[in-house]
Symmetry: C2
Subunit: 130 residues, 2 copies
Amino acid sequence: MRIGELAGRADVSTRALRYYEEQGLLESGRTVSGQRVYPESAVDRVRLIQELFTAGLSSRLIVTLLPAIDARRIDPELLQRLVGERAAIEAKLVGLQAAARRLDLLIDLATHPDTTSCPASLEQGAAQPV
Amino acid sequence: MRIGELAGRADVSTRALRYYEEQGLLESGRTVSGQRVYPESAVDRVRLIQELFTAGLSSRLIVTLLPAIDARRIDPELLQRLVGERAAIEAKLVGLQAAARRLDLLIDLATHPDTTSCPASLEQGAAQPV
DNA sequence: CTAAAACTTGACGTTGACGTCAAGGGCAAG
DNA sequence: CTTGCCCTTGACGTCAACGTCAAGTTTTAG
């Protein structure tokens, strides 16, 4: 298929697809006249890339990750990076979860009229709420 | 305290603090000579702001949120936005966790020599791994 | 054959949360 | 007094993941 169809089926812009190629995330064949041609598998590939992007991974990480996923073979150096990135993701998770709790408290505060809800815990220094 | 100390204690740059002020997220008193002065409570305030930023909230949203937090009163419109943001965070969390699992599988694959580990589940269409 | 739709590369624009000078003012220590 | 660190206000730079023309080529529909 050509770039327009892939874009439609993977629900991204053609610009995004060219960007992915530029970053080494996505390959494409070419017709004689130079137009990009993709196999069916590209749809899932692009969806995978999107998934990793929305997870907040950088294209730099993804570009190292994809070959590892494909080859299922990881040299020690890459392993080091993966471990490092895993830690970074964990940190992000922790931060996001804290933020999520904070938002939940706010939402509670707003939905519950104003029952003597959660005493403090919206401001800082509330100690772990459970 | 002055800006340098606040920056140190809240673990952000002085530039960030000035940016927060610019965005209306953080107030400061001034000495006669014009230097910013903050109360102790500013430390927690800045940490809260940071937390909301890591949650992916924009400064525009935060600037409307902070007074609501202070007043412990949130109008329905703001509530709607919060619920939306909460959902966005949840989606991000799910995405990040999926990415984390992928990384874990890769790391496993690399550390374990190559036991017939987890069959597929690295590529697409692996169905929920639990 | 022709016009529209889809494609190409190239290059500049956007947004948010700051980083990073630049040029100067203020203040405790020696 | 002057050295040195902290502070001030600009104002331009950055980075990522594209968006958005522009100008030209190719493919498709009629």
